[in-house]
Symmetry: C2
Subunit: 480 residues, 2 copies
């Protein structure tokens, strides 16, 4: 793997700046010549152009694939495609793996099938499997035909695992040894390699039939006497391993908890089939938390910031549509009380406060409960206890903040009873928010559904409609 040529972490931003400058300079020359509309200057233009192009090409060549990916993501579409054309074809595959989904799509769209095939063929089976969903089927078919039987087997395996499984994180690049040799033999064996697979912190000890017998850490290999047998220093117990069907999230938690660098993946008969490395896990953790943050704001996926207006609309419309429906329902709840509002218009001004604070408070509860459930730290039996606590918090908040707002309403509208209704409605809506915040995710979990999904929308819908209903209902009963 190539490495960037410098020492400092935010140099990638300097690279970006440099590329942008080169692109801008090129554009200035083009604009100038075009504006003057002098055909004989085309020669000059083309010369200057070539010079800048060479500088840009050299710059891109010096960069790590991940840095090129970063630069491409930060460039608007025309500049991005221009720079993409200058990148050496043999690096295309690596770079396509590093860019975000949306940007990858924009790059692949412009590539000919032959280019795509060449890019794909430069990748390992596990990497190819990651890229495959974005490639045209005929390219996949071509690449598949060009593989040897082991490669085909690996690609078929890698593509067969669902996205959130350990199988999807797995690679097939590893060093295996036998248990009946000495460390000296292992050391000599390793010297036959030109390079070791990335993130090799341990060798896998297997028998003739690929059964995992233990692991030999490089540490054990290095600190022990070369005359020792592998069997005597390998770890046989307490080996953390995964099956391809394990959830990626569990594997990520295990890597985090036990500070792993790599771990073997075995099948049901304990045969070694691959490994997971911390690099894949770090990418997975980052992607998962990204996805969670984006979905909180109702974005379907990471958006190419230079995407077309139309792509952005597609990425965002579903969430807006759902919210429109819930807002419309809330609006109809208000519609039920139009008579009351007509008689006491202050209700119209005060009602959004009750609904809004209920939504905020409910979201606090649901966020906390969902996180605890995701960590597996909440048993269904803890529901009563959690409910009692959340109701306690809601009651205190309701009385304190509701009380304050009650006083404000009294002072603004000179109506004690209106103040009391405000306090009562706030408290009741916060209690409703607390119940929903605990019950919605826990019931979803019991039904086997993802406790996180749509929790926030559901809570907000409840506290909006519920808040309007409670406040306007109480007011109608007591005031009118």
């Amino acid at each position: 793997m190539t490495k960037p040529e410098e020492l400092h972490p935010d140099d990638v931003q300097h690279h970006l700046k440099e590329v942008q400058d080169l692109l801008a300079r090129q554009k200035v020359v083009e604009d100038l010549v075009h504006r003057q509309d002098m055909p004989r200057h085309q020669l000059v233009e083309s010369l200057v152009h070539k010079q800048h192009e060479a500088a840009l090409r050299a710059k891109l060549e010096s960069l790590h694939p991940a840095d090129i990916a970063y630069v491409l993501e930060a460039l608007p579409l025309t500049e991005r495609l221009y720079a993409w054309d200058l990148v050496k074809a043999e690096r295309d595959g690596e770079i396509l793996l590093e860019v975000s989904d949306a940007v990858r799509e924009s790059l692949i769209e412009t590539m000919a099938p032959a280019e795509l095939k060449a890019a794909a063929e430069s990748l390992d089976a596990d990497e190819l499997a990651d890229l495959a969903p974005d490639l045209p089927p005929e390219v996949i078919e071509d690449v598949f035909q060009s593989l040897d039987s082991e490669g085909r087997e690996q690609l078929r395996a890698a593509m067969s695992y669902p996205e959130d499984s350990v199988g999807a994180l797995m690679d097939f690049d590893m060093v295996t040894v036998r248990e009946d040799v000495t460390l000296e033999v292992v050391l000599r064996y390793l010297r036959l390699f030109d390079e070791l697979p990335d993130h090799t912190d341990k060798l896998f000890v297997i028998d003739r039939d690929d059964h995992l017998k233990g692991i030999l850490s490089l540490e054990s290999l290095l600190i022990n006497d070369p005359e020792t047998l592998v069997a005597d220093v390998m770890r046989k117990e307490a080996v953390i391993s995964f099956t391809p069907e394990d959830e990626a999230d569990d594997a990520a938690q295990a890597f985090e908890r036990y500070d792993l660098v790599s771990a073997p993946v075995i099948d049901t008969e304990k045969r070694l089939i691959g490994r997971v490395t911390v690099a894949e896990v770090v990418d997975y953790i980052r992607e998962e938390s990204e996805a969670e943050i984006l979905s909180h704001a109702g974005l379907r996926e990471e958006e190419d910031i230079f995407a077309s207006v139309w792509d952005s609309v597609k990425n965002r419309w579903a969430w807006l549509a759902i919210n429109l429906v819930t807002a419309f329902v809330a609006s109809r709840v208000i519609g039920l009380f139009e008579d009351s509002i007509e008689r006491l218009v202050a209700l119209a001004a005060l009602m959004p406060i009750v609904a809004g604070i209920g939504g905020n408070s409910g979201n606090q509860t649901v966020t906390m409960i969902v996180r605890a459930i995701a960590m597996g730290q909440v048993e269904p039996s803890a529901m009563t206890r959690l409910l009692r606590k959340e109701l306690g918090v809601a009651l205190i908040n309701g009385l304190v903040w509701g009380g304050l707002l009650g006083v404000l309403a009294w002072w603004l509208y000179g109506n004690v009873e209106l103040g009391l209704v405000m306090t009562g409605a706030m408290t009741l809506n916060l209690l409703l928010a607390a119940c929903a915040g605990v019950l919605v995710p826990m019931v979803r979990q019991r039904l086997g559904a993802d406790p996180a999904l749509g929790g926030s929308v559901m809570i907000t819908a409840l506290t909006d409609s519920g808040g309007f209903f409670i406040f306007l209902g109480l007011a109608t009963l007591i005031l009118l």
Copy 2:
């Protein structure tokens, strides 16, 4: 480091279940004997109790510190403290490092200064620095006195770096070698170790004055001829290193981008002072994304789900208070138009839709812009371009969804003009949301402030008050 005794990643949940069962069985016995109120049964109780206690102690002893931390977090306070008492004192330090802040507080509260001192003394300087903010000052002082001068120096250094700097992630545990020896000498030197520091994937090559000359990866050490000189196979260029003052976030991005396992930390004169490992980086990434998700929901920090009602109220009040103020302002905006609402009460039912959808749409925009800024991929000069795009998206959404709502309003209230006002107000509020979503984070960035902070609250405040003002204002102008 001890390792868990099993093979499967979600076994930690089974451990939790086992501990909970043991605790429950104990409780059943206690309850039974107490309820029957028979003093002569106390002997039986104490016997059974002892038996369960021994089983629990053995169970806890078999677990990895991270797993004990996980179990403690999932237990309600009394059970948690009971289990904590059974944990061997020499493991206290490691476990305190692993638990969440809130749970750590609950454990430290119950420990005597002598226990805390013993726990702290079992840790390395960098670990101690992480724990220090939660320890009473007299304990820190005691521990500090007990260190040797190198330890004191390291602790002082580790504690001096701000939380989000590379210095805070750094440890001092590393293997250094000289460049003028052969690999054979290095191999023999490593055999003198009982163990290598965790995550040793490379050795640091330094001169007599600690200047970093290069790095020798274990890979190079293993694949090259033992007669080779370190100087000939070490990497001198393209070494990614950090200074303690670098931002932790930049380091995390570099680890992710370049798939690092460890990296040297150097001072301004290129002297080696420590290293950062991927384990710390993974923890950092996870904590940062947790903090972001929690702060989106207005939770100040990760909450102990079994915290007292009072602690929860403290964790959540600030966000509710801010939202109360913005909701109150929005309510006063409505107050300005009470006459209009009195004359056309349908306005009261429709206005929350305009405000709500504006908020949703604004949050989509701000989330996307903040993420792009955080990655350093948005130049200030890109503002116009982004603004144009977001306004385009808002215009389409406004006309589509606003148009739909306009038709609904027309149909519900039989008033064409009301429908037109609805469509107009929706479109204008979405345009307002788009402007705010782009400008708020970008202006904050230009002013040197954190672009993410409070963006969502500010946008929602704007689209609420703005939405009410636009809708009611338009209605007053056109309809009344």
